[in-house]
């Protein structure tokens, strides 16, 4: 690991004052420390933000608000989250291992880096890690890679389960930085790779994620997260589905659908949602809607199984929620 300075910030202003283009914020550390050991990330200084508060899990009239420094395990086990937004609790439970969930923060989870093997291996080229160096995943080992939102520069999958659940629920991230506070829809916060995959999100220099806000959605009580992976626990998604369903007398009044393990960012399926609204929920209508919503999938050499697996997983999720 390259040498760096370590400082614990006492206030947000203190944290902002210490930032430069070569500093990194540290919350749980489970991503940052790992990537620093691998030499993928090499900051000159690490600013520990754990003293900034940024805690709290609260439900009020507007919805759910979770401080960015809340840990994954605490949010996953919170009774209000489990009751009002089961898709969020389940996505967190299906993430990482108990030890990692005990340490990792909500903000850090949303900012985690891709698990693309080329990104994590400094001996190979990677446009995300070293802009302009190339993308071996285009033709290389790309079984785990994306089928939505890819570009000639990058096909890496966004790794967060939580982000998929939150995008389905129209969550917003609250940000604070040297220039003040602002709030951004999480779906817009993440960028498509295009020709600059090193820029993954909308964060401005020195900005922090301070909280996540999920608007109230009564039918989110009927929501779930289904994750398909190579082993039953402690593995990233091959495909995953976050869904919330408002169904009365067998007819879909409203639905939210987002998918993971398949996109360069958490991937909402608006066309599938639209196709389902007002329809009777049957296997046929669910399949038609999901097929319409995923028609633009562009598989690579080794992940051609993903679109079909995703469609089956989405149909199963919808029918399970509707039953």
């Amino acid at each position: 690991m390259r040498a760096f300075e370590y400082a614990a910030a006492r206030t947000p202003a203190d944290a902002f004052a210490r930032t430069t283009p070569r500093t990194a914020y540290l919350a749980g550390g489970t991503t940052l420390v790992d990537l620093m050991k691998l030499g993928v990330v090499e900051p000159d200084a690490v600013i520990d933000i754990n003293g900034l508060g940024l805690r709290g899990i609260r439900l009020d009239r507007d919805g759910l608000r979770v401080g960015a420094l809340e840990r994954m395990s605490d949010v996953a086990e919170h009774p209000v989250v489990a009751a009002e937004f089961p898709v969020v609790a389940q996505a967190l439970q299906a993430s990482a291992s108990p030890q990692i969930r005990n340490m990792a923060s909500i903000g850090g989870n949303l900012l985690q880096r891709t698990r693309c093997g080329y990104f994590r291996d400094v001996a190979t080229a990677c446009n995300k890690r070293q802009p302009g160096s190339g993308c071996p995943a285009q033709t290389g080992a790309n079984r785990g890679h994306a089928v939505f939102g890819t570009s000639a520069s990058c096909v890496a999958t966004h790794a967060s389960d939580l982000a998929v659940a939150l995008v389905a629920l129209d969550a917003r991230v609250e940000l604070a930085g040297p220039a003040g506070r602002r709030e951004v829809p999480l779906a817009d916060f993440y960028r498509l790779p295009g020709d600059s995959p090193q820029v993954e999100n909308d964060l401005r220099p020195g900005e922090l994620v301070t909280a996540v806000a999920v608007p109230r959605l009564a039918f989110a009580r009927r929501s779930t997260y289904l994750k398909v992976r190579d082993r039953q626990s402690y593995e990233f998604a091959l495909v995953s589905v976050a869904a919330a369903l408002d169904v009365r007398n067998g007819t879909v009044r409203d639905v939210r659908l987002a998918v993971g393990g398949v996109g360069t960012r958490p991937w909402r399926l608006p066309l599938a949602e639209q196709a389902l609204r007002g329809k009777r929920l049957t296997e046929a209508t669910a399949r038609q809607a999901v097929e319409a919503g995923t028609a633009d999938a562009r598989p690579l050499a080794f992940n051609a199984f993903k679109p079909a697996l995703l469609r089956r997983t989405a149909v199963r999720t919808l029918l399970a929620l509707g039953g």
Partner: protein, 161 residues
Amino acid sequence: MRITFTCNGRLTEADGVWEGESLLYVLRERVGLPGSKNACEQGECGSCTVYLDGDPVCSCLVAAGQVQGREVRTVEGLADGDELDPVQQAFVEAGAVQCGFCTPGLLVQTHDLLERQAQPSDAEIREALSGNLCRCTGYEKIMDAVRLAAARRAESAERVN
């Protein structure tokens, strides 16, 4: 830098710590507690599991500076003097130890599981231990040990009542 923390109930100070050291390194190389093991060094295997402020974490992914002022309990802190913790005793009796490298992490993680869930189902045990890899693949005996430890705890709870 210097870090001060509580380790197995004792105020502990480590001087001359390099910023890039992990909690695992500090425990093994500076505090003289080699029970926590360094296997994958990237949070994949759980061999370095210790309690941090009461919750099990992978100490290999905790930067030394993060430990300042906090409370750490390692596998060395499970036994009461010469008396093994029931979880340790169960691992001995069930033969749940082969090469032994994963054992300290499994002990801490199992200890935490039984504190929170006294009678876990097999599925709950598997999920709780999903972040602890045994390269000898001795998982059946490990499952036996966790079930045995849970049963022992239930028995001793009954005796107290």
